[in-house]
């Protein structure tokens, strides 16, 4: 396939993200990468579960966590996952404008989530004196949730870069796989959050 065909295809196929060999490779490679990421988070969850009783004082999960904020955060992230699905739906219909719009909404929701998380951490540190260094539980909590937060930040930067880079040239067979795997990444982040919500917050609150 010539460069011209990749950047300005005469006919966009139904699955533009998998129309080229590079696209297919990216698609599969990224799934494998997410497999590795799963082990990464599984290890962090394991560490957290091993240490969540080592609170060294009154800053226990029951004492610290408030479910209201976490519920809002969960809703924000779940909704952002849905909006990124819309974006991919529009990509398959070759509607570039709508895809960009829905991804922009995704970024907006992700930012709101991140804002809540920063507020939450700030709150724990200043209201309760609960820090990364105060106990093994503190280290495990901030590491697990912080790793997820770091992934959110990276995902947001990635999607934003894509939105800005391609805003003037539309969808083609070169950038379609990039959009697609960025949205896969976003779904993965969402799934990890569901586990964090359950294991860290719900189980922590219930005891």
């Amino acid at each position: 396939m010539s460069h011209e065909d990749v950047l300005n295809p005469k006919h966009m196929p139904h699955d533009p993200e998998k129309a080229t060999l590079e696209g297919k490779n990216k698609f599969l490679g990224f799934w494998f990468f997410l497999g590795g990421e799963t082990v990464l988070f599984a290890s962090l969850f394991g560490t957290y579960l091993a240490l969540n009783g080592s609170t060294q004082g009154e800053n226990t999960p029951e004492h610290l966590f408030g479910l209201e904020l976490v519920f809002i955060m969960t809703m924000l992230l779940l909704t952002s996952s849905l909006t990124s699905v819309y974006a991919m739906y529009h990509m398959k219909n070759h509607n570039f404008g709508k895809m960009q719009t829905w991804l922009a909404i995704t970024v907006f929701l992700g930012l709101a989530f991140l804002g809540c998380e920063i507020y939450e951490f700030y709150h724990y540190i200043h209201e309760y004196g609960f820090t990364f260094r105060s106990s093994a539980f503190g280290s495990a909590f901030y590491t697990l949730v912080g790793f997820h937060g770091g992934h959110v930040l990276f995902g947001l930067s990635w999607i934003t870069a894509l939105l800005l880079r391609n805003r003037k040239r539309g969808l083609n067979l070169y950038n379609a796989p990039k959009y697609y795997i960025a949205s896969l990444y976003w779904h993965f982040i969402d799934v990890v959050w569901v586990f964090i919500f359950t294991v860290v917050y719900l189980m922590g609150k219930v005891g």
Binding site: M1, S2, H3, V6, L7, L21, K24, N25, L28, G29, F32, F33, G35, G36, E37, V39, L40, S43, L44, G46, T47, A50, L51, G53, S54, T55, Q56, F132, R133, S134, S135, A136, F137, G138, S139, A140, T143, W158, A161, L162, R165, Y174, K178
Partner: protein, 622 residues
């Protein structure tokens, strides 16, 4: 095309060419050279260890330096020598074996190499900046978290960087093998080396993230005051052991499986027979990979996990002996009824069978959890894992290098020197490590800086040291062979061994694009199939046309360099926050390079039909 111009422009351009290359064959050269150098460094460290243990109460090196030596020997040999040398073979061979023009992610392939190299350099810089890591290659907390100085910090950062490179390499080969196979190259026609690369890459993918997490926790504890391994704040040191071995046990299969694959190809080739029980061999490889994840805690029998956990892990570990046994017997029956040709490659492979069988047997003995209370952390274990790693991995590397050297460099390694290198190494290997099993049972724990007089350990240790010198002699002869071959030996054809698989159907070394036309695969051992049908080479699966190739790039180098700089920043910001500048500068270089990669379109280039026709006239294609 870039190769040809580069050669005209001299050394500077050649260096630039290697810095920016995304060609899997050149990346193989890079891995080979870097891995080879680290192998020599690791070997030197081993010699110093053996000199120290030559006699009782020896004072050749100090206790602290000795611990640095054993730590760096283990870490270097596993992460910086064995793995890169395996990656060298994978890069050199796998795309050729499946009929691909390149790997799936050429850019990431290059990135993987530079990350490994900078990680390895980082680890070794520690020798010159106040002391290498000294908590053993297993780096158990809290010995590691409380180790003074920055040695362990170098371990953490160096392995984190090179580990990222390995993970990238693993994903690259997985996708390459799934997506890039030539028409007709079904899974059950893939050569065993490709199969084992596939399984190994899966293991890398699922094992390395556990190490990544372990290293992060260690980094946070040492550099940012967290309390994962600080029992005073409720931490738990056993978490490190679990994370390390969840990675560490699959790691030993990551090391040995590719060489199992190489041995399979070599036995088949030099017996002039197809591999006996091909599907059983594939099944055994997959099963070993799968079971490899179920047994990590057999490294921790004495930690106090209780009899139930110990028994489960003991039985699971024993189970691995079954697929390994299947492999040994299938190799033997591959040779049965064949026409065995005793080349240097075959000699190393033949020597592997008894050596590895002994290593496997002591492995089963170690799996017996209760008996491991006596073996654990003694020279019995040292003897065992050197039997599998040297007798398996190193013998395999030598065999595979002899076998594929002509494909990589166009010349056959001198056979006489090859065999001359083999004998001292082989004899020295058994002298060094066989006696160590007994030393362990007689009461010599591993990682002992000195042993006392009058405990009956003197003779065994002396024998072991003598053996180590013989191994060193063998290695030196091999190096002489490499030089001699490149100076004196003549170029050979693309198929010097009467090969069976696709890599032997193209010239040596292969052109930039590997295959002028993608071959059509008609069975297991595709080239052999064509030969038996009386054909000269492979039937093409496509007409002659333009070939799409990736562009070279310096970005993998700069991404890795940035992390290297940031690594120093992370290590020294503990002493002085000025070093945070290095963290930001390094991360800036890395993230900036990634951003450039992301924003700048890189569509690759085409090699045109006319150029290919020129090449064919010059005799490149067949």
């Amino acid at each position: 095309m870039s190769t040809a111009t580069a050669q005209k422009r001299g050394l500077g351009a050649a260096i630039w060419d290697y810095l920016t290359t995304v060609d899997h064959k050149k990346i193989a050269h890079l891995y080979l050279v870097a891995g080879g150098l680290f192998f020599l460094i690791g070997g030197l460290e081993a010699m110093l260890i053996r000199i120290q243990l030559m006699k009782p109460d020896n004072n050749f090196i100090s206790a602290g330096l000795y611990n640095e030596m054993i730590t760096m020997h283990g870490t270097t040999m596993i992460f910086l020598a064995a793995m890169p040398l395996i990656f060298a073979l994978m890069n050199a061979v796998v795309p050729l074996q499946i009929g691909a023009r390149d790997v799936a992610f050429p850019f990431l392939n290059s990135l993987g190499f530079w990350l490994f190299l900078f990680g390895g350099l980082m680890l070794n810089v520690s020798w010159f900046t106040g002391g290498a890591p000294d908590a053993g290659w297993t780096n158990y907390a809290p010995l590691s978290t409380s180790s003074p100085g920055h040695g362990v910090d170098y371990y953490v950062m160096g392995l984190q960087i090179s580990g990222a490179g390995t993970l990238i390499g693993g994903i690259n080969f997985l996708v390459t093998i799934v997506n890039m196979r030539a028409p007709g190259m079904t899974y059950m026609r893939m050569p065993l080396f490709t199969w084992s690369t596939f399984v190994t890459s899966t293991l890398i993918l699922f094992a390395f993230p556990a190490l990544t997490v372990g290293l992060f926790l260690m980094m946070f504890d040492r550099m940012f005051g967290s309390a994962f391994f600080d029992v005073g704040l409720g931490g738990n040191v056993i978490i490190w052991e679990h994370l390390f071995w969840i990675f560490g046990h699959p790691e030993v299969y990551i090391l040995i499986l590719p060489l199992f694959g190489a041995f399979s190809d070599i036995f088949s080739n030099f017996s002039k027979k197809r591999l006996f029980g091909y599907s059983a061999m594939v099944f055994a490889t997959v099963l070993i990979g799968f079971l490899g994840f179920m047994v990590w805690a057999h490294h921790m029998f004495t930690v106090g996990m209780g009899p139930i956990a110990n028994s489960i892990f003991a039985v699971a570990t024993m189970a691995i002996a079954v697929p390994t046994g299947i492999k040994i017997f299938n190799w033997l029956f591959t040779m049965w009824g064949g026409q065995i040709k005793m080349t240097a490659a075959m000699l190393w492979s033949i020597a592997f069978i008894p050596s590895f069988t002994i290593g496997g047997m002591t492995g089963v003995m170690l799996a017996a959890a209760a008996a491991d209370y006596q073996y654990h952390d003694t020279y019995f274990v040292v003897g065992h894992f050197h039997y599998v790693i040297v007798g398996g991995v190193v013998f395999g590397l030598f065999a595979a290098l002899h076998y594929w050297w002509p494909k990589m460099f166009g010349k056959v390694l001198n056979e006489k020197l090859g065999k001359l290198a083999f004998w001292p190494f082989f004899i020295g290997f058994h002298l060094t490590f066989f006696i160590q099993h007994f030393l362990g049972l007689m009461g010599m724990p591993r990682r002992y800086w000195v042993f006392l007089e009058g405990q009956g350990l003197d003779a065994g240790n002396l024998i072991s040291t003598i053996g180590a010198f013989l191994m060193a002699i063998g290695t030196v002869i091999f190096l002489i062979n490499v030089v001699y071959t490149s100076v004196k030996e003549k170029k050979v054809s693309g198929d010097p061994w009467n090969g069976r698989t696709l890599e032997w159907s193209i010239p040596s070394p292969p052109p930039h694009y590997n295959f002028v036309q993608t071959p059509l695969v008609r069975g297991l051992d595709p080239l052999w199939v064509e030969k038996m049908d009386g054909k000269e080479g492979m039937t093409p699966a496509e007409p002659l046309g333009d070939i799409h190739m990736p562009n070279a790039s310096i970005l993998p180098f700069t991404i890795s360099l940035g992390l290297f700089i940031a690594g120093f920043g992370f290590i020294y910001q503990v002493d002085d926050t000025v070093w945070l500048i290095a963290v930001f500068a390094g991360m800036g270089i890395t993230l900036g390079s990634m951003l450039i990669r992301s924003l700048k379109d890189d569509l690759g280039h085409h090699i045109h039909k006319e150029e290919l026709e020129e090449d064919i006239k010059k005799g490149v294609g067949r």
